[in-house]
Symmetry: C2
Subunit: 137 residues, 2 copies
């Protein structure tokens, strides 16, 4: 019986070795755009993580290219930069393209104001309602 279970296990994990590990994330906040202002709205339960953020002029904002979160988009490994076919193909690790295996985006943003759990920033190259993953000084 044990052997049978082990064989099933081997089949489940594939003939070429163990499946790669997976890591799971949920948004800590959201990019909002309204009234000509760009803000990051931190989820209320994560507000304690903002303590001391007012000491910084700028932050790294890590967010998720959620509109490209399909197996097809995540399997694209080379692109023509700026979607221009005249630009030679480049690997996504050598570009900032919004398609990549793990859809993490990274922007340096200037803090204009902090009100409650809302961080007003100068600008960010992200759609409204994009999920935010992390904030770092």
């Amino acid at each position: 019986m044990r052997l049978a279970l082990c064989l099933l296990c081997a089949l489940a994990t594939g003939a070429h070795g163990a499946e790669p590990p997976t890591f799971e994330m949920s948004p800590v906040g959201w990019v909002r755009k309204a009234d000509g202002k760009t803000t990051i709205e931190i989820e209320p339960r994560y507000r304690p993580a903002m303590l001391g953020l007012d000491q910084f002029d700028s932050i790294w904002v890590l967010y998720w290219f959620d509109r490209n979160d399909t197996p097809e988009q995540r399997s694209i490994l080379q692109v023509h930069p700026r979607r221009n076919p005249a630009n030679p193909l480049r690997g996504v690790f050598a570009t900032r393209a919004p398609v990549r295996p793990n859809l993490i985006a990274l922007s340096r943003c200037r803090i204009l104001a902090i009100r409650g759990s809302t961080i007003e920033i100068d600008e960010i190259d992200a759609f409204a309602d994009t999920p935010v993953l992390d904030i770092k000084p």
Copy 2:
């Protein structure tokens, strides 16, 4: 019958609204340390994503604090910086602490050499065999 299913659905997603979305990632490579060298070993299937990387002196390396990937560690929202109780508590978004809701780490690394799917870098503040999530110029 439909109503019953909807009620079940409401119970499953909690009384306070929908569950937050989750995003899944797998490593694109690994930090390796051997023979006094620090390298990033890209998974063979992601090697096409490295095309053009040799044009850069430095890269952003995004990796996962996998040793802290427990619900307890991920629920820590405030820390004493550098684990020194004399430092006042700070929110994790105002520190680079390796405990945070989403365990993404970020380092700027200098490329020393690229050989096949291996990128030799100057140094990185990560344990050997740490999973790498993304590389950006």
